[in-house]
Amino acid sequence: MSAPFEPVLLARRGMPDGQSLKTYQATGGYEGLRKALAMEPKQVIDTVIKSGLRGRGGAGFSTGTKWTFLPKDIQGPVYLCINGDESEPGTFNNRELIECDPHQVLEGIVITGYATKSTTAYFYLRYEYGRCYRTLKKAIDEMYANNLLGKNILGSNYSLDVHLHRGACAYICGEETGLIESLEGKRAWPRIKPPFPDIEGAFRRPTVVNNVETMACVTQILDRGADWFLSIGVPKDPNNPRDGGSYGPKLYCISGHVNKPGLVELPLGITARELIDKHAGGVWKGRQAKAVVPGGISMGFLSAAELDTPLDFNGPGKVGCLGLCTAAVIVIDDQTSMVDVLYNTCRFFAHESCGQCTPCREGTAWSTKILARIRQGQGTLKDLDTLTDISNTIGIMPGTTICGLADGAAWPIKNALKKFRPEFEEYIKSGRKTQMREVAAAH
């Protein structure tokens, strides 16, 4: 038996004055940065590559490898953008991480800045996170006052400024090039890639975009070493040469129909069932789970028979979901109609589509209208085929859109109609209506 898992990323949660620099340093904070500054930037990147860290923002790309895509011997500025736009329904790990331990995130930013030779970091924070904004502002001021930011950090040759930049309530600002456009003062229309941000990002300069939780992991990896990180989670699949493994601790968000919703830190690879039963007090009201969102609504649904799926970077894909994304688990009980659930996800994406690509703009709007009609008791079985058609034709995967929002809109439709089709058919045939009241201005 291995030792019980000890939370690291959330170790300071609930500590009195846990957000202050004083507490942070008294509990080992900024040791990772000191170690990093004693290395060459290249060695820092190698350490992060070796750790197997994959981005926590959704795509799961190897963090250190992404940093190596920056052009060599760059003249002029390199930007670091921290993605704190967190808006994927079900997801709140970045918020709690910032609120309970801002310095852990900021330390990772300075380490990442040093490794990538970034000259300025922009922390793009969704507007709704006012408390995070004030917490970060205070922490950044403390850092400037203590030579942890600004010129010649801790006596090194490295200098970095961090600026907080607040969003204005738009999900698409979380997509990295949407974020960059928004940062530049424009509408958040994602850019066609390539060029990727590493080559041409913010202000047309080489740019690294990383998620908030990714930054906290970088801090811990530099402090505790790559081998520590590799000792946690799920190793590479030896039968899959393309698998990068699922290493390290992960913040899992649990919400919906459970007794104890909340945020837990666990090794990557926990199953949905364990999360619900052991860490969220089980399904509420003594009911059973009918479906579970494995990682934010863009990922689709696990059926009740799929709850033993490990929530690592590979697990959800093996049962037809899009991936792990943000590891935000939403539990749906057996009294809930999947028609209503799917309507809700479609409405979200119709509301948040930036409107740039016709398949996404029209596909999200029409899928919402069709489901609204079904909910009014006026659906036909053919509607289900139309919905499936829409879900198969919008997105980067079929190659019809600029960004992945459309794939995220498609996946819940695909999964719902594949895994719960009889329920949809029964709903339509019975001429049932959803009595749920809804505000007129639907979207």
Binding site: S87, P89, Y133, A170, G256, V341, R437
Partner: protein, 157 residues
């Protein structure tokens, strides 16, 4: 008379050194102005554009993308209350909460209450799904709320 206060102008100027160009100050400037005036008026747009060395149309293009900013015909009430309707909240009564709050206050999302105390908005996931249903008041989250509580807040009680 200038549409922007001296303090707003100074706050906007303070942002210039943070970015390689002035256009990047668009969102900060819009936030500063709306925070102070409850909306971003035509006249304010023209003056922001002047300060950022942009055409007013560029400011409008950005502003209109984000449903967040209000024009002078629809200024914000004293507080802005956003009710989340995304999945985690909807599963715990978010849609019904929004409907009840709107019914009781006789508003549609986006409207101000009759006495102008509050603006009621619908929100997509606020990032506080562990406290569903939840709301945002200005920029502070409030978790596990009831309709009575939201109505009381909207009435300034």
């Amino acid at each position: 008379m200038s549409a922007l206060s001296e303090s707003a102008k100074q706050q906007i100027r303070d942002h210039f050194s943070r970015y390689p160009n002035k256009q990047a100050v668009t969102l900060p400037a819009l936030h500063i102005v709306q925070q102070e005036q409850g909306c971003v008026s035509r006249a304010a747009i023209v003056e922001i554009a002047e300060m950022l060395e942009l055409a007013p149309a560029q400011i409008v293009d950005t502003l209109s993308f984000y449903g967040f900013f209000k024009d002078e015909k629809h200024p914000l009430g004293k507080r802005r209350i956003w009710v989340c309707r995304s999945l985690a909240c909807a599963l715990r009564g978010g849609d019904e909460l929004l409907a009840e709050v709107c019914d009781r206050l006789h508003v549609q999302p986006g409207d101000n209450t009759a006495d102008g105390t509050a603006t009621i908005e619908l929100a997509e996931c606020l990032g506080a799904c562990d406290g569903a249903p939840c709301i945002l008041i200005d920029d502070e989250l409030q978790l596990n709320v009831t309709a009575d509580e939201v109505v009381a807040l909207a009435e300034g009680r």
